[in-house]
């Protein structure tokens, strides 16, 4: 009897410590942010619940510029990383898995901060790229090298994200290509489909749910990530997490609700992306499970 009870609760019991840490820190933090964003901050005497912070944030020019920039950076990084990843995976699908794992797994282990610094050292106007271009005579002076850091188009940030996230998408796509997509392609081949027909009618439709799922994860991450834009971004507009951080660091404690409102809005976009991802992966899982 006791054994039966234990075995019924075994999985929840084993999961409890991890869930406690995850849930406690995440839900607690989210709760605090939500409460403060609603103007409830008794430490400085604010006890009236209102949507003022949201009104202020959503109405400000600075927030809109930030929001657009964040969508731009996350969107462009995701699209570039995904397209390059699919091409790389297609190129490497028949190579031994030793080679592809070295190529794709090494960048995954490098922290974003290190990647950002590395990219900065290569693409800054005093960096390796500029000096190389100058010594090759492509530009007169290293300083003539195009500004790719702290620039209008966030090239440095996007480059860092592409370098970091592309291998992740590529590994997901590669797993799909080496699995059932490869077998289905052989079937299509014996049925007379040319290389292009096999890709377009069989391989791509079969791997596309995986591609979309992986790119949604990349989008959610790049939308909410802080450190790379903080290091390599301009001071105006900043992307949303950096803006939230600036508000949070403000000497005026009354700016705190605005900072938290931005955080809640970031969480909302990320959560929507995650929900989309879950729906998609359930559809893929359901299909696989019943076949």
């Amino acid at each position: 009897m006791v054994g039966g009870v234990f075995s019924r609760f075994k999985i929840p019991l084993l999961l409890a410590p991890a869930l406690l840490v995850l849930g406690g820190l995440f839900a607690g933090g989210l709760y605090a942010a939500l409460v403060q964003s609603l103007g409830y901050f008794p430490a400085i005497g604010m006890t009236e619940v209102s949507l003022d912070a949201y009104r202020e944030v959503l109405g400000s020019r600075r927030f809109l510029d930030s929001l657009l920039l964040t969508f731009y950076v996350a969107g462009v990084s995701t699209v570039l990383a995904t397209v390059l990843a699919v091409l790389a995976a297609l190129a490497l699908r028949r190579s031994p898995s030793r080679i592809s794992s070295v190529i794709f797994q090494v960048p995954i282990t490098v922290p974003h901060l290190v990647a950002a610094v590395g990219i900065a050292l290569v693409v800054s106007q005093t960096g390796l790229g500029a000096r190389l271009a100058a010594s090759l005579g492509l530009i007169g002076e290293p300083a003539e090298f195009p500004a790719l850091l702290y620039d209008r188009y966030s090239v440095g940030i996007i480059l860092t994200y592409v370098w970091k996230e592309m291998p992740f998408v590529a590994l997901v796509v590669l797993a799909g290509l080496r699995g059932v997509a490869g077998e289905l392609e052989e079937v299509a081949r014996t049925l007379g489909a040319s290389a292009w027909q096999r890709f377009w009618y069989v391989v791509f439709p079969v791997i596309s749910p995986g591609i979309v799922a992986a790119s949604l994860i990349v989008f959610a991450f790049t939308f909410g990530a802080f450190e790379v834009p903080f290091l390599l971004g301009r001071s105006y507009p900043t992307i949303l997490p950096v803006m939230a951080y600036d508000e949070y660091r403000s000497v005026e404690l009354t700016d705190r609700p605005a900072a938290m409102a931005i955080n809640v809005l970031i969480t909302l976009v990320t959560a929507l992306t995650a929900a989309l991802y879950l729906r998609l992966s359930r559809r893929i899982g359901g299909r696989r499970g019943s076949s």
Partner: protein, 353 residues
């Protein structure tokens, strides 16, 4: 698109080695499949039979040797141009297409109109008894239904070669025999030259016009199913087909008798002089009163009797030699009884080295 006449397939000395230093997966396989014939490539797993099939399909390239269809080499021809449709062990239906779109796939890739491919897909679904399932998605079908659809998908292209890679092995026993009959039926109707890979000896015997037994990457025997029971080439072949009776002996010459520990036996087949192993099917062994007339007989003790319903299987012990005999259930011999055993000359078969 007129359906191509069924083709004559010829493998000439085909070898394949996957890597340098690796044991070859195929060693000089030579085989001819006549137009409209169904040949079973039979062998244990890892014997190279699927490798051979993939070489015919073009999915693998042989290290050496030739693959010819109607006398023309296939080796430079990519798989998509060979007209060799393959059905795999798993149904491998395209998950994002309806059943009908799956079946019509090969036609659409060849540029057939939507209407034509759809009509011919429905016709092909009828041939595998899957009419009315065209609008379903593959994951709504059972495993057996999916495999029927994948057979229809191969047939609809009117392939000059039909290649089947253990298409029944993932199904349970009832479905397997039903689908086996269906395969034979559509194959005969369409007259497709067919190579059927299987590890199941019974499946090969029931389905095939001829069986090619492959072990260790080499062809051991290629003949009609009956011959594997009556005239197996070697002891290995005989054992693969369940033979248990082996008698070591020495032949005096082509017409001379064979001396064995059980006695001197005459054979209906010439045996070259020297050492030889004789075999006989359990059903051909005669016991007791059945064994009265003449030679090739000796006395043995019944060491085991197993009632099997339609027959009784006896184990007979004579010196160091043990033989099996299968007799009708009305013959009753007791364990421990001594009986005369006769091995009819026309049923004794000499195995090659």
């Amino acid at each position: 698109m007129s359906p191509p006449a069924s083709a004559r397939l010829e493998l000439r000395d085909v070898s394949l080695r996957y890597g340098r230093g690796a044991e070859p997966a195929l060693k000089g396989l030579s085989l001819t499949v006549e137009p409209g014939e169904l040949v079973a490539l039979l062998g244990p797993s890892g014997c190279g039979k699927t490798t051979a099939l993939k070489i015919v399909a073009g999915l693998l390239a042989p290290t050496s040797g030739e693959v010819l269809v109607d006398g023309r080499s296939l080796l430079g021809v990519p798989p998509e141009k060979r007209g060799a449709a393959m059905v795999f062990q798993k149904p491998l239906l395209f998950p994002h297409m309806s059943v009908e779109a799956n079946v019509g796939f090969g036609l659409r890739m060849r540029g057939a109109s939507q209407a034509e491919s759809s009509a011919r897909a429905r016709e092909a679904l009828g041939r595998v008894r899957m009419e009315g399932h065209g609008d379903r998605r593959p994951d709504e079908l059972s495993g057996g239904q999916q495999q029927r659809v994948s057979l229809a998908r191969a047939l609809v292209t009117e392939p000059s070669l039909l290649l089947l890679d253990e298409p029944l092995s993932a199904l349970d026993a009832n479905l397997r025999s039903a689908l086996r009959d269906l395969v034979r039926e559509v194959q005969e109707e369409g007259g497709y030259t067919t190579v059927f890979v299987t590890h199941d000896q019974e499946e090969a015997v029931v389905l095939a016009d001829r069986i090619a037994l492959v072990t260790g990457g080499a062809l051991r025997m290629y003949d009609r199913p009956q011959a594997f029971y009556d005239r197996p080439r070697t002891r290995e072949v005989a054992e693969f087909f369940g033979a248990t009776n082996f008698i070591e002996g020495r032949s005096a010459g082509p017409d001379g008798p064979v001396e064995t520990a059980l006695g001197t036996f005459g054979l209906a087949t010439p045996v070259p002089a020297g050492k030889v192993t004789l075999t006989i099917r359990p059903e051909a062994v005669r016991l007791g009163t059945q064994s009265e007339d003449g030679g090739n007989s000796f006395v043995a003790r019944v060491s085991e009797a197993t009632y099997l319903g339609t027959q009784i299987s006896y184990r007979l012990q004579a010196g160091d030699t043990s033989l099996r005999a299968a007799l009708p259930p009305h013959t009753r011999l007791a364990v421990g009884e001594r009986t005369t055993v006769r091995l009819p000359a026309e049923s004794l078969w000499p195995l090659g080295p």
